[in-house]
């Protein structure tokens, strides 16, 4: 009797095992493993020097997630169905040390399906080695430091901002086209600014212009008065300051108070956070300075994925009761790219996610422009033109002055004295 029972159990177990094998071999793999929600892990900074930009990016992502969840979630090809999105987010307070711990927590404790970096190169830099170590694709919205993209990788994709190595190309070409010979470059000592400065210097030198002043300052630099005087002693025609928003505010304040005048002054963040910059340094100080205008300050009317820039601005403004800035758009765009990635990746694996992004590259245009990444994960599309901020009413408005095919006006050079 005992032998019969034992045989029956063995037969049942064998049958179950065999049917299990048959199921796993014959049926789609997703049937048993589809998660109830897609967990997107990310960080944001509620305080510290990157807070304004980081919160904008996070806000844009939340706006995207709310939109897709209203329609039942994102379509995931690997499971052939829509699945709601859940954002798992922690506050890194602009600290790389805190961010390192929290990225680790997202990967090892929360087991997120998709890992997305916080704003900017500084807070992204610590996520890159962690993601690679855990074989996770890092969706990098706005970390563009050239050092990130030095070798082939399956675990990094810069999706919403061009690599720092290509940012300053239109600026360098504009300077050369204007026949400006004496250029001063002051930059923050971080991946984002230093790699832009290096590209700018190299491109200018190829065009026969050797910068008369080329120096880094600490990322936390907040007083440029003496520095500006030192720069002025080199008699530059153009002064290019490459920094984050707090640096740009301090620099423009110091310039306004110094009584110095340069034919051309360039800063980065008026093109991304124009309202913040106007509020802090005033339209008079910003007038006739140059910047990289980012969407929605420049618009892409034709897209192959998601709303065009104007439609996004309209929808976002209606929903959030405030007009979006570039960081809102970057966060939203990152959501769109992830959505398309999930909709096209045949399997729910990190390598398939990466391949899906590579397949989209060069064939996709969003509200930020052409999406084009290389095998190193660098964004080579979404190029930023050069604009001059010209007085308009009580504020300033960007006029694209380079490249010619995107220009909406001519540069007023040299800048009039204020």
């Amino acid at each position: 009797m005992r032998t019969h029972v034992k045989r029956a159990w063995t037969a049942c177990a064998g049958a179950l095992f065999a049917s299990g094998l048959a199921l796993s071999a014959g049926a789609p793999a997703h049937a048993a493993t589809a998660p109830s929600e897609i967990k997107i892990g990310t960080l944001y900074a509620s305080s510290g020097p990157f807070a304004v930009a980081s919160e904008g990016q996070y806000h844009g992502l939340q706006y995207w997630a709310a939109g897709v969840n209203k329609t039942g979630g994102v379509f995931v090809k690997a499971f052939d169905k829509k699945i709601p999105v859940k954002i798992v987010a922690y506050d890194d307070q602009s600290s790389t040390a805190t961010a390192t711990t929290l990225y680790n927590q997202l990967i090892t404790q929360d087991h997120v399906n998709i890992l997305m970096a916080d704003f900017g190169s500084v807070l992204t830099s610590v996520a890159i080695p962690l993601a690679a170590e855990h074989h996770m694709l890092l969706i990098d919205p706005t970390g563009s430091g050239a050092n990130f993209f030095t070798k082939k990788t399956n675990y990094l994709a810069d999706v919403s901002i061009p690599s720092s190595t290509v940012w300053p190309l239109p600026l360098a070409h504009f300077i050369l086209a204007q026949k400006i010979k004496r250029v001063a470059i002051v930059y923050g000592s971080n991946d984002f600014d230093a790699s832009q400065a290096e590209t700018l210097k190299t491109t200018l030198e190829k065009g026969g212009v050797k910068p008369v002043y080329y120096h880094g300052v600490p990322t936390t630099e907040s007083n440029y008065t003496v520095l500006l005087h030192t720069i002025a002693a080199h008699n530059p025609e153009a002064v290019i300051e490459l920094g984050y928003a707090p640096n740009d505010i301090a620099f423009l304040h110091a310039l306004a108070g110094s009584g110095l005048h340069f034919n051309m002054t360039f800063t980065i963040f008026p093109g991304q956070l124009l309202a913040l910059m106007e509020k802090n340094v005033g339209a008079k100080t910003l007038a006739y300075t140059y910047t990289y205008p980012t969407p929605p300050l420049v618009a892409y009317p034709k897209t192959t994925l998601g709303p065009n820039t104007a439609a996004f601005v309209k929808e976002f403004t209606a929903a959030e009761k405030a007009a979006p800035n570039f960081l809102d758009a970057a966060g939203f765009n990152t959501g769109l790219i992830m959505q398309q990635m999930l909709a096209t990746a045949p399997k729910f694996t990190q390598l398939d996610f990466h391949q899906a992004l590579m397949d989209m590259s060069g064939k996709t245009t969003t509200l930020l422009g052409e999406f084009k990444i290389n095998s190193h994960g660098a964004q080579m599309g979404e190029l930023l033109p050069v604009a001059q901020l010209v007085p308009a009413g009580k504020g300033v408005t960007p006029v694209v002055v380079y490249p010619q095919d995107k220009a909406t006006g001519k540069a007023i050079y040299p800048a009039p004295k204020k």
Binding site: A45, S47, A51, H215, N223, Y224, V226, P246, A250
Partner: protein, 293 residues
């Protein structure tokens, strides 16, 4: 040569302002042996006070000075009687104050983020004058001179308080030995409470000029200012408020010289100086000499 002159004059102006930034922290430590880790946050509050007056009410930011003094009284008095006597009774008041004021700093920062958000706020560019004033042919914005003048007046006022008033004498007696001062009949708590009020008010006054000297005020600038203040007061002499002036000048001139000649390392200069000075004179540049006097 002109660059050197500019850096030196700029360094002196910047340094005098940073003497004001650090002096309140040193006063509080000198009198109460309390490490006020919320010092930078009090400076930040001063900056936001001036911002509210200027942007909200259209007043000149200089009205932030009486507001900072009022803020010093409103915050300092209850803070002293609520916290300090208990701290003094503990076995290790310095360490306990370190932890307690760290908590206060975090709370102030969180409230500031809640009230003002995380973004930078600036004051009207021309509110302290829109021109430049030159010395030896080197011109600096009016706002720098005003900040320097107010700093000098505040430090001078503190000096006169110490050297000409009964309360000042009592404060110095407490700085020398708290128990002996109490034994001689000095109302240690009352005098210390006034010192805490003065320390916080001086921090608030410095905050009024922060947007002009470092570009903007934001809820996250506090910790950085506390660290800088520590470097300055240790260079000068920990526990000796007037030694802070020397620390501020060393900090200002060192920073501006580095900015002029090797800008990438300008933030390192004050801390390298701090290390060198502490190794050579552990009590700071004015340490022993002034304390004995």
């Amino acid at each position: 040569m002109a660059l050197l002159e500019y850096a030196l004059i700029g360094g002196i102006l910047y340094g005098i302002f940073f003497s004001l930034v650090g002096i309140g922290l040193n006063l509080i430590f000198g009198v109460m042996r309390i490490i006020n880790l919320a010092h930078g946050q009090f400076i930040m509050l001063g900056g936001f006070g001036a911002y509210l007056l200027a942007r909200g009410l259209g007043l000149n930011p200089l009205f932030g000075i009486p507001l900072a003094i009022a803020g010093g009284i409103v915050i300092g008095y209850p803070l002293y009687y609520g916290v300090v006597p208990r701290l003094q009774k503990s076995q290790d008041p310095e360490m306990l104050s370190f932890i307690l004021f760290f908590g206060i700093a975090q709370m102030i920062e969180a409230v500031a983020v809640f009230a003002f958000g995380a973004d930078q706020r600036s004051l009207p560019q021309d509110a302290l004058g829109s021109g430049n004033i030159g010395v030896l042919g080197q011109e600096f914005p009016d706002s720098w001179w005003v900040a320097c003048l107010v700093s000098v007046l505040a430090i001078l006022g503190l000096y006169l308080y110490f050297s000409r008033t009964r309360l000042g004498f009592a404060t110095r007696a407490i700085m020398a030995d708290r128990d002996e001062a109490r034994a001689t009949g000095i109302d240690v708590d009352r005098v210390s409470a006034i010192a805490l009020i003065i320390g916080i008010a001086l921090a608030g006054i410095a905050g009024v000029f922060v947007p002009y000297l470092i570009g903007s005020v934001s809820s996250s600038i506090g910790d950085g200012l506390t660290t800088t203040s520590f470097a300055i007061i240790i260079i000068g002499s920990l526990g000796n408020p007037l030694g802070t002036v020397v620390g501020g000048l060393v900090f200002g001139i060192g920073t501006m010289l580095m900015q002029t000649y090797y800008s990438s390392w300008s933030n390192l200069a004050p801390y390298a100086l701090l290390l060198a000075i502490v190794l050579v004179r552990p009590s700071g540049l004015l340490g022993k000499a002034v304390r004995r006097a």
